[in-house]
Symmetry: C2
Subunit: 140 residues, 2 copies
């Protein structure tokens, strides 16, 4: 499945249906399109969602760095969009993506690598890539 970007006019029209919160954000869940693995959750502004829909490359908004966060720009671990979905309250999106490499800044495929178990928090997976290979020290 190749992503086909809507026209700018259609994107702008669809964005009018999205309920950004008081800070101008919506939650964005990234899920690997073919395996169903939930990779991460992050945040998007109007501009981030617009760019994502226009380019087919996922762009979040970094609340800590207060700027657009083009996923993989530093690390190369980009997310190619297959489909974006909107929830019933229009305040969250589900991104079906093809994740190149790993989603997590720890070098793991998914950020959800710890489980609440009867004996405590348990790590389910090990890093696939040394985080030092991914970046100097910034998230991406």
């Amino acid at each position: 499945m190749t992503y086909t970007a809507p026209s700018t006019a259609v994107i702008d029209s669809m964005l009018e249906a999205v309920n950004f919160d008081a800070s101008g954000l919506i939650a964005a869940i990234a899920q690997q399109h073919d395996t169903g693995e939930v990779l991460m959750i992050a945040w998007m502004t109007h501009d981030a969602l617009r760019e994502t829909l226009q380019t087919g490359r996922v762009c979040y908004y970094s609340r800590s760095r207060k700027k657009l966060w083009r996923k993989g720009e530093t690390s190369g671990q980009v997310q190619h969009l297959h489909e974006a979905r909107l929830d019933c309250d229009a305040d969250a999106v589900l991104l079906l993506v093809n994740q190149i490499g790993v989603a997590c800044h720890t070098g793991r495929r998914s950020c959800f690598y710890r489980a609440f178990e009867p004996d405590g928090l348990v790590e389910l997976t090990k890093p696939e890539i040394d985080p030092n290979q991914l970046y100097g020290h910034t998230h991406s």
Copy 2:
């Protein structure tokens, strides 16, 4: 897989690792454990996550009603917990659940039922249950 609740001491210890935001909330994604379908996203307080881990029945926090929201309490559409996972920043949880009936208050299995398509927002699924059968008028 049956959920086994940790002891209260272990739960309290694990909760210390969770980063609730300035409003005391974390994001919680519910995913059907066997099919991988992402069902919904909602919010949890410390008390909501604690109750969920203790009982194995998913309990969110309703930001609009400002109280604990025991999913399915009104509608019967409960979520049985299989496993809860914590993300790398410890500010989001992924709940692997068995969703009885439908997750969405519109009567659909998943809340993410609209797709951003080249022609505009498209509904991917129809309600499986009449919302009027689920409740009078409150979300649950």
